[in-house]
Structures are given as structure tokens and as C-alpha cells.
Symmetry: C2
Subunit: 208 residues, 2 copies
DNA sequence: CAACCAACATACAGTCTGCATGTAGATCGA
DNA sequence: TCGATCTACATGCAGACTGTATGTTGGTTG
């Protein structure tokens, strides 16, 4: 029953080691790429050995998946925190897309979530991760808009996927130096284009 | 000046070896992934040695880039071959997108061009390749549509990129088992949504 | 025909991944 | 409480891969 500082329960040890590994891997995977980051480098940064890594994770890919999952959750949380609860469907969508683009400006996030993630884990696995976090709210927002007849009725799954793809590409393009205003304008035009009543003609003209 | 079968000019040798390497690499990169394909396997399939590979290509990435470039050109050619010359802007866009989705059904093409390509070469390099081939015609089609006032005027670069991203994701989703009709319907809705006169309301109702 | 150069082939160094084996500390049953 | 067992690691090893350096053969050129 000694409560020494050296005495830790197995659960605490596991939790701490896994957290250190994920944090170190996240840092390196965002600074460099998945392929350019080796497990020796990760464990050195985490202060453990490769034995610990392969005890807690089946392989390098599984550790990567844990990092991606955690990062996708962080993005979803930033979006949720930034989106006010009571807006009409269209403005909620635009607020959400702005929050998404802002969240994706964190260094290395686009490569981690939009380039390495799909390539290493596959599109299907990335879709599953996205559905657990970010795009879930996007899909629900779109369904809400269609239910309230502010949006043309379309297959929800496909619409969610294609709009999400456009958001993703916009994030990549903006990071590559593209005009954020241009991409934002096109995203809004795509969303407004789905309105059956062409609300945009009644709104004040968009700048530029 | 002997014209033996064993006697070949240096230019012929280079051309043949490079072609064999690219063909073998293409086959393996489409069957498996870039990461899962090693250079020993490639050179064995090509009937040469690794020395030849590293003589003609700086590294594995450079060979991969050559494969991607060639495959992107093949996709662009299939699209151009399938698209009749005289259609109005909107129908030309839809015909082009149908041809693109059809071309991307070739086994392994989506992973090569849409997953491994961006991850290995980077989005910027992939944009450069796309601009040399496929998306060039898409951009021109969009500009033509905007000029003829059948499409809302928007920043051409951004619009091209985001629509191309939607096409790409549709190709991935369809290969993963998604409903081709659903994704086609959403793509058309996105395109028609950009029409300033809301032509879609005047057209016969879309099925489903 | 001699010198040179391009197109390879071979060998090697360094690094990485995953696993197998060994060990110390934590947990559990008697 | 005390051995038995299991978890959480550390260490060492085998196989594979990438890129390069060096050697060799055949083509090219003056």
C-alpha cells in the first residue's frame, strides 16, 4: 500500500505511455510526413523505447490511426465551439465551413488529415473517422436544410461527401497560398446553388 | 554499322528501359500501393536491375511521378475522346464528368491518382500535373460557361479546384461501392446550382 | 582506332519495421 | 502476506529496403 511517487498502477502507466506516444507522434507527423517519420524518432521524442510502442500499438499504422482520430476530434470540437446554436440552416452551414477552414490552418493538419490519412489508412477508414466526428454535423446540417426546404432534396450521403471534399480541397488550396476569399466565395456559391428558391438573388450582392 | 538484333543505339536502349520500368511500376502501383511496392519488385517485373532504375530516375519518387504523369494523361485522353465537340456549356460539363467517372473505374487508378499521388508528391505537384492534363479542359469549360452567362461568375481557379475535388471524391466513393447515380445526381445539382437563371427548374425533373 | 561516355550491373552502408525473447513491477488468489 | 501470474515494458535480432559508390560493357565521336 505504499504510495510512493515511483509506484503507479498499470492503468496509469498504460495511459501515460500511450498519451506520450500519441503526442510525440502527432508532433512529428504534423512537422514532417508519415513516411518521413520513423518509429525510432517517435519513441525518442516520447521518452520510451520501441518495445513500448509495439506493446501498445500493433504497428506504426495503428499509432498513426490513433493520432488521426484524435486530430479529427480536435477539429470537430473547434467547429462545434465556434458555431452558434441558433442560425438558419444556410448560415449555420457557412459558419461551419468558416470554422472548418480556420481549424485546418493549424500547421500540418491538412497533410495529416487530408493527404497522409487517406493514403495510409484508405478512404474508407477516413470516412469512418470523419463520420464519427466532423462530417456527422455537416450531414445533419444538410438534412436539416433539406427538411426545411431551404435546400434541394438530394441523396444525403453523396451530398455530404462531395461538399466535404470541396471543403477539404479549399483548405489545402488556402494553405498552399490560394486566396481564402475566392475559395470561400465559391463554397458559398455551391451551397446557395442548392437552394430551390435561389435565395442568393434576393441577398445583397456578394463582394467581388 | 552492323544492324544486328543485338545492336541498339543508346537512345533506343534508354527509351526501351524507361518504358519497361514505367510499365512495370504502373502495374504494381495500381495493384498494390506505392508504399507496398519495392524497387526490387519493380525491376524484376521490368526485367532490369536496380542499377538501371537509379540510372534513369533520381529515386523511387521520381519514377512514381513519371507513372502518375502518364496515367493522368491517359485519363485526360479518354475524356477528350468521349466528349463530343458541340454541346452547350452545361451539357459539355456533364458529359465530361461522366467520362471522368468512367475513366476512373480502371482498377487502381483512384488510389494512384487520388490517394498516393497527393500524399507522395504533394498537392502542389499534383495540381501541376492535373493542370497539364485533365483539369485544364475543365477550367476552360467553366470559363466558357461563365462567358456565355450560363454560369455565375466566380473565381475560375477556385471553382475549378473545388469542382475537381468533388469529382475526385465521387470517383473514390463509387469505387468504394457508393451509388453512382446518387453521386452523379449531386454533381449535376452542384453544376446546375451555379446557373444564374436556374435552368434546372425548366428542365424535365431528374429521376429520383 | 583510340579516347570517351552513356547505360547499365554489382556490392555495400545505413536505416527501418516487426517480432522474439528477457525482465521488473503490478495484480491476484490462497 | 506471499507466491503465482500477468502486464508493461527493454533489448536484440532478422529481413527488407533505399540510395550510392564502384566496376564493366557497349555505343559514340573525333
Amino acid at each position: 500500500m505504499q504510495q510512493d511517487s515511483t509506484r503507479r498502477s498499470n492503468r496509469d502507466r498504460t495511459e501515460a505511455t500511450r498519451a506520450q506516444l500519441i503526442a510525440a507522434a502527432r508532433k512529428l507527423f504534423t512537422e514532417k510526413s508519415y513516411a518521413e517519420t520513423g518509429t525510432p524518432e517517435i519513441v525518442t521524442a516520447a521518452g520510451v523505447t520501441r518495445g513500448a510502442l509495439y506493446h501498445h500499438f500493433a504497428d506504426k499504422q495503428t499509432l498513426f490511426a490513433a493520432v488521426v482520430e484524435r486530430e479529427a476530434a480536435a477539429v470537430a470540437e473547434e467547429i462545434e465551439r465556434a458555431s452558434p446554436p441558433s442560425l438558419d440552416a444556410r448560415d449555420a452551414l457557412i459558419a461551419g465551413s468558416d470554422a472548418y477552414l480556420a481549424a485546418m490552418r493549424a500547421p500540418g493538419r491538412t497533410r495529416l488529415l487530408l493527404l497522409d490519412g487517406p493514403a495510409v489508412l484508405g478512404r474508407a477508414a477516413m470516412d469512418a473517422i470523419d463520420n464519427r466526428h466532423g462530417s456527422r454535423s455537416l450531414r445533419e446540417g444538410l438534412i436539416a436544410a433539406m427538411r426545411s426546404n431551404t435546400m434541394t432534396r438530394l441523396p444525403a450521403e453523396a451530398l455530404t461527401a462531395l461538399l466535404a471534399a470541396a471543403f477539404d480541397r479549399a483548405a489545402l488550396a488556402i494553405e498552399a497560398g490560394g486566396s481564402a476569399e475566392d475559395y470561400r466565395a465559391v463554397l458559398i456559391a455551391l451551397i446557395d446553388g442548392l437552394s430551390p428558391t435561389r435565395l442568393q438573388a434576393l441577398r445583397p450582392a456578394r463582394t467581388r
